[in-house]
């Protein structure tokens, strides 16, 4: 039975903050196939292209037929915990602080035996559903979950080390003026966040949904203008040590490309809000978040980047916007590496056009702000790193994986 997560006590300002430590994060290149699967929340293992043997641990030749063609494919995640142990002594500083730690050998229905982390509600002899998670080092690990949902499932301490669950954590939504920002505030409140700081620039300017936003449980409006360094720094000075999750909802979306525009004012504003806004947030809040990655139940855990899927492949109809999104994606990858020593994740949430005013002229399918918010919360709960929301984003993801050049041409033909 999983004990419900205790509400964290007020932090004693005189206590030393526990420094973040990481488990062993080195992996062979073949093993990074699991990292890719974990980032997207898939359970995938190498399956020999020639003899169909399912293989684990990841390697460079099939142990049955020596074929070098070992692509990662989704496989049946179900299996049986053959035997378990509780580690009570470890020389590794990360695990030493987190003992006792339960692991087991799981025989997958698909064939191989996996040494795995065990959820607290799973024991020797149980059937389990395996998942691949990213641990604090950002490397993939396999985790045995109960087949059926059990009470307080997500409160399992070993599982909570793998994900960025907003429950009891303090979230900063960087812009509450937009429909997306408001949907995020609502979703995080419902997900059990302890407090949802919602940033507003020029709070006195009215906007649709303002009253509803203020009425959301545990929302606190704070002044924040991501285009203003002083504003960002001041908020960080006041509150930076109390922010566990940042969701960057600051947006700037304009249809149009590059050649048919006159001047740079739109491009400049796009970069100011989206790219420099991201940099300001990273510089102001990043260091404190990185140092608080192991700071109890409400440790710092994630920076969420909401991105157009066209960051991955430019869509000329929104070409200038795509380019800026690409810059934000790349900056987010730097941030991911810089935050990793603190065990803090950067989560990229990719979507196609949203069902909001700046995508007004586009036909469906479009992603509603509520759907985007729900997917963002789920990405954090599931510990994913790269999430594709909605049909367009999924379509782009698939086509990109098969033939990026074809996708480039097809997007440029609209």
């Amino acid at each position: 039975m999983t004990e419900p997560l205790p509400r964290p006590p007020r932090k004693n300002p005189l206590s030393r903050t526990r420094q973040p430590l990481l488990p062993q994060g080195l992996r062979s290149r073949a093993a990074h196939g699991l990292t890719a699967a974990a980032a997207e929340g898939r359970f995938a293992l190498q399956v020999c292209a020639e003899c169909d043997t399912v293989i684990y641990p990841p390697r460079d030749a099939c142990p049955s037929c020596l074929s070098p063609r070992l692509p990662f494919r989704d496989v049946d995640p179900c299996g049986l915990v053959v035997v378990e142990t509780t580690v009570r002594v470890s020389a590794d500083p990360y695990f030493r602080e987190r003992l006792p730690w339960r692991t087991g050998s799981v025989k997958l229905d698909a064939g191989p035996v996996l040494v795995a982390h065990l959820h607290g509600d799973v024991a020797e002899g149980d059937r389990v559903r395996m998942s691949v998670q990213l641990d604090k080092s950002g490397a993939a690990v396999v985790f045995a979950m109960p087949i059926a949902e059990t009470p307080n499932l997500m409160d399992d301490p070993q599982l909570r080390e793998m994900n960025c669950d907003p429950k009891f954590r303090r979230v900063l939504i960087t812009d509450g003026r937009s429909a997306v920002g408001q949907a995020m505030a609502k979703a995080f409140s419902e997900a059990g966040a302890a407090i949802i700081f919602v940033g507003l620039a020029d709070e006195w300017k009215p906007f649709p949904g303002a009253a509803r936003l203020r009425a959301i449980d545990r929302v606190e409006i704070v002044p924040l203008d991501v285009t203003d360094s002083e504003s960002v720094n001041e908020l960080a000075e006041q509150n930076g040590g109390r922010i566990d999750i940042i969701v960057n909802t600051a947006e700037y979306t304009r249809a149009g490309g590059i050649l048919d525009r006159r001047g740079l004012s739109i491009a400049r504003q796009d970069i100011e809000v989206r790219y420099f806004g991201l940099l300001r947030l990273a510089q102001a809040f990043g260091p404190a978040m990185r140092s608080r990655g192991a700071d109890g139940v409400n440790s710092a855990t994630a920076f969420v980047n909401l991105l157009s899927v066209h960051a991955l492949m430019n869509w000329p109809a929104y070409g200038a916007h795509s380019a800026t999104e690409a810059a934000c994606l790349s900056a987010g990858q730097t941030l991911r590496a810089e935050l990793r020593p603190g065990g803090v994740k950067v989560v990229n949430v990719f979507s196609g056009p949203l069902d909001t005013e700046w995508f007004q002229a586009l036909p469906p399918p479009k992603v509603s702000p509520a759907a985007l918010a729900k997917a963002t919360v789920m990405a954090l709960v599931d510990g994913r790193e790269d999430v594709f929301v909605g049909d367009v984003a999924e379509d782009v993801r698939q086509r990109l994986a098969v033939n990026p050049k074809a996708l480039e041409r097809e997007l440029g033909q609209d």
Binding site: P23, Q24, G25, L26, R27, S28, A31, Y56, P57, P58, R59, P63, V82, V83, E84, T85, T86, V87, R88, V89, S90, A91, D92, Y94, F95, W101, R102, T103, G104, S105, K107, V113, L114, V115, A116, H117, E124, D135, S137, A139, V141
Partner: protein
């Protein structure tokens, strides 16, 4: 009995068992420990470095070096060189290779050495870089090291065959008894079954006295022709039979048997003996469950009967089934790769009547078994040798 097509080891012997006393921690390098062992071999044999024309080395802590760098380090110019990185199977493997080379005339005198240092962080570093599969698929899961891996194997064995912790404890208690007369053993405090059962847990169901204590040390011996040993005045043992098998039974979901089971019939056929003929047994005891598996897989009892076998026999040096007569690694200490030589060196002593501690009376036939290298979830390497006093 299966007829063996294997060539016998006529005319070849192992001799001159050397142990450099173990230390819990050492600031010296592995090279220093290897050098100490080589020097003692030469001194006992009254040989010079130039008389050694073969070298076999096993060590986890020689850093960037392998055997080749050690030739220049120690001023040797061998015509036969081997590096055997197989942990607890290193002794058996080194012996097999050296014996054939001597037999074929490729080399005359092979110095076989296993040694490791133990700095305060050696064990942690060795584990962290142990193997690719360990890095990818074992270490990230609690970093419990081999203790966690063998905990799973032990628990599975207990579930499958009904063995209890007390059954494993009997092995440890007997070995501690044997260790008390061994001047080199690091752990010689009295150990009762109650002490064993009450010890602190490490990774369930493994408790403190199931685990070896890493330390620094060296073990060595010579392999040469029988006439060479005679001219050196060295008491020697003959090789009656050897086997070796790696990554056996890969389809067993959890390891319950080792490679010995594949080739045990050949081992006995080659020696022309049966398990009852053996006077002293030295198994690789990284964990008592593995010693129990060796009793089964080498033919001393049936599969799953290891616990009953242990209950029915006295494993002390004076008992009816002398086992790990110097205390094994569990009481002597595990000096890294030297743990893979410990049993072999002790067997040479027992069979030549030169045991440092308790001597098995009239020991003529000895069986030595090696095992090791937990790559992911099971020990991959295994080997065994039946030795006979050459007197």
């Amino acid at each position: 009995m299966t007829l063996s097509r294997r060539q016998p080891y006529d005319g070849v012997v192992a001799c001159l068992p050397v142990t450099i006393p173990y230390r819990r921690y050492s600031t010296n390098s592995a090279h220093w420990w290897i050098g100490r062992a080589l020097r003692q071999l030469l001194q006992q044999a009254k040989l010079r470095s130039s008389d050694i024309d073969g070298l076999s080395v096993s060590s986890f802590t020689v850093g960037a070096d392998t055997a080749i760098g050690l030739t220049q380090h120690f001023g040797l110019s061998p015509r036969w060189l081997d590096h055997v990185p197989f942990g607890g199977a290193s002794g058996i493997v080194a012996l097999r290779r050296a014996a054939r080379a001597v037999q074929a005339g490729d080399v005359d005198i092979v110095a076989c050495v296993a040694a490791d240092t133990n700095h305060v962080d050696s064990f942690r570093h060795t584990l962290a870089n142990f193997s690719r599969f360990a890095q990818d698929a074992a270490t990230p899961y609690g970093s419990g090291g081999p203790n966690a891996s063998f905990a799973l194997i032990t628990r599975n064995y207990m579930n499958k065959y009904g063995a209890t912790r007390a059954d494993f404890g009997r092995i440890c208690v007997a070995q501690r008894d044997n260790a008390r007369s061994n001047p080199h053993a690091l752990l010689t405090g009295a150990l009762t079954l109650d002490d064993y059962l009450a010890a602190r847990p490490i990774a369930d169901p493994i408790h403190l006295f199931d685990c070896v204590m890493p330390c620094a040390g060296a073990e060595a011996f010579l392999v040469c022709r029988e006439d060479t040993a005679r001219s050196l005045g060295a008491e020697a043992v003959r090789l009656l039979a050897t086997i070796e098998r790696h990554n056996a039974y890969a389809d067993d979901p959890i390891q319950v048997r080792g490679g010995w089971a594949v080739d045990a019939d050949e081992l006995w056929a080659m020696a022309g003996l049966r398990p009852d003929d053996v006077d002293v047994v030295e198994t690789y005891d990284d964990y008592p469950v593995i010693s129990m598996m060796q009793f089964e897989d080498l033919g001393f009892c049936g599969k799953g009967e290891g616990a009953a076998f242990v209950r029915a026999h006295d494993l002390t040096a004076g008992g009816d089934f002398p086992h790990n007569t110097s205390g094994g690694q569990l009481s002597a200490g595990q000096a890294g790769a030297a743990g893979g030589y410990l049993g072999l060196v002790e067997a040479i002593r027992q069979l030549t009547g030169t045991a440092l501690g308790a001597q098995v009376n009239g020991a003529q036939i000895g069986l030595v078994s090696g095992f090791g290298m937990i790559n992911y979830d099971r020990g991959l390497a295994s080997g065994a040798a039946i030795l006979a006093s050459a007197a």
